[in-house]
Amino acid sequence: MTLLVEVPPPAPAPAAEVPPARRSAGRRLVGAAAPYLYLAPALALLVVWTYRPLLQAVQLSTLSWNLLPTSPATPVGAANFREVLTAPELGDAVGVTALFIVGLLPFTIVLPVVIALSARRVRGRARTLYQALVFAPMLVAPVASAAIWQWLLDPGSGAVNRVLGLQVNWLADPTAAQVAIIVVTGWHVLGFATLIVSAGLGGTDDEYAAAASVDGARPRQITWRITLPLLSPTLVFLTLMTILLSAQWSFPLVDTLTQGGPGDATTSIYYLLWEYGFRSFDAGHGAAAGLVFFVVFLAVAWVLVTLSDRLSFHDD
């Protein structure tokens, strides 16, 4: 189950495995071990930095321990999980996460489609230039973008309030802070989503639209009845990414701009997890929360991938 845009290879090449024609037993042994030798560095890293900690998190999740080597860890069974699942802040965090997802959809679906459709009418260097402009925000380091936006959103002298003639204290008012986080995150991911949609458009067949045009369909009808349905796999994919990754995308900005506040207005699930891990200094609690998140994340990903096959329109 990969959620990645994998570019299909042009032609599957036959495996390059070397047939052991006339080789000594020793060389054959090396031959059989070869793939594992090539894999060894990756596997070592995988075990040490991913799966060992995953198992350790399972173990930690049943303990109460404040991370200090000198203090004892007490086993508490499933208490950590119960606490995590019944914590009042969990519901709020789910709500904030849902709000981020809904708020980001215009940036990952609507605007990219508008941009990509407009870009079809524009050719040559101008098009490359526009693409470069839209894509640039993705390359800005999260911390730098936090700095930029804190400056732009500054209540007194920030460009946003001055240009719009407003007096909003963007990062101190709950609703305004939520809007700010959504817009800044949207600014970051817009270029990426636009590229995906453009690639999707490039892959659809122009013949349908041409045929409809000959039959007297108007451009608007062609867009709504033909182009968008043909694009649906791409749109479903982007929706899926938005649902799964919104909290992740906004996380660095939340951490640097609002620290989850004001109050809990911008504390998404992902940020809550981070707080459990490092602010509360209860390793067991943090591990339990992380595992719950992981399992739910897996389940959601699984459901979405299964659903996406049914939701998209195929042209065969």
Binding site: P8, A13, V18, P35, A42, A57, L60, M138, A146, W151
Partner: protein, 269 residues
């Protein structure tokens, strides 16, 4: 509506969105280039130009040192990820072996595991190994990139079999084939992937933030230190942020097409 009119409308939409997207970046550099007294000015062009904010940032932060450290981390991570992924992808693409599918899934599945789950145990391990507050501690845990393995594997599978066959006829072993046939053929793909990994590593913030908590040794953390203070001084902050973005933008200007295609292919980030 004629085609011509539609093209004009297309230009208008794209120009508007494009300008809105780069304005914040432009404003950062504009602010950083104003004279320290003019930081609050709203003129679109920062005139007269001044490097005062950069000088102030340099007084406060060891900008050159921080950039050098960040470069070491980013290059180390990107080169390491590329090498590890190259070898792993070669195993997956060129051999059929026991456990292949399981190992592949285990590797690709890494990005589904939220980093909050693994960060605590990894932090403890770095502590025990004495690697906290070292650049090696930042680089080591990031050396495996599932995306890189996935991409390189699919590229390797598209290499014509005759090429590999010819290498075998020449009596080359699998190791020789990898370096004399596969790597040269994949050079464009490797370059694009290297750029992607470098940019991602350069912009990475959380792992360095945790490992280097007390030393603030990469540029991202230097900027964060600026942000936290009361009464932010915007000039030097924008100067430091602008410098932090500069290498990536420079790379982007030179290699725009490769950067874009690398990001699209990876589908992530």
């Amino acid at each position: 509506m004629t085609d011509r009119l539609r093209a004009v409308r297309g230009h208008l939409v794209l120009a508007a969105v494009g300008l809105a997207c780069v304005f914040p970046i432009y404003w950062m550099y504009a602010t950083s280039l104003r004279r320290p007294g003019d930081v609050f000015a709203t003129s679109l062009l920062p005139w007269p130009l001044s490097l005062g904010s950069y000088r102030e940032a340099a007084r406060e932060l060891d900008v050159v040192g921080l950039l050098a450290n960040t470069a070491v981390v980013a290059v180390g991570v990107a080169v390491g990820q590329l090498l590890v992924a190259l070898l792993a992808a070669y195993a997956f693409a060129a051999y059929r072996f026991r456990g292949e599918k399981l190992l592949y899934l285990a590797m690709i599945g890494t990005w589904l595991i939220p980093f909050q789950v693994t960060m605590l145990p990894n932090y403890v391990l770095l502590y025990q190994a004495g690697l906290l507050n070292t650049l090696a501690g930042v680089i080591l845990p990031q050396l495996l990139s599932g995306v890189a393995v996935l991409l390189l594997r699919s590229h390797m599978r598209s290499i014509p079999g005759e090429l590999l066959e010819a290498a075998r006829m020449d009596g080359r072993g699998s190791w020789g084939t990898l370096w004399t046939v596969v790597v040269p053929v994949l050079r464009p793909a490797l370059a694009a992937l290297a750029i992607l990994l470098f940019v991602t590593a350069w912009n990475e913030y959380f792992w360095p933030a945790m490992v280097l908590q007390r030393s603030g040794a990469v540029i991202q953390l230097g900027i964060r230190g600026f942000l936290g203070t009361e009464g932010v001084r915007w000039g030097p902050l924008m100067a430091a942020s602008g410098l932090a973005c500069l290498p990536v933008f420079a790379l982007y200007l030179v290699l725009q097409r490769q950067v874009v295609s690398a990001f699209v292919r990876s589908g992530l980030r």
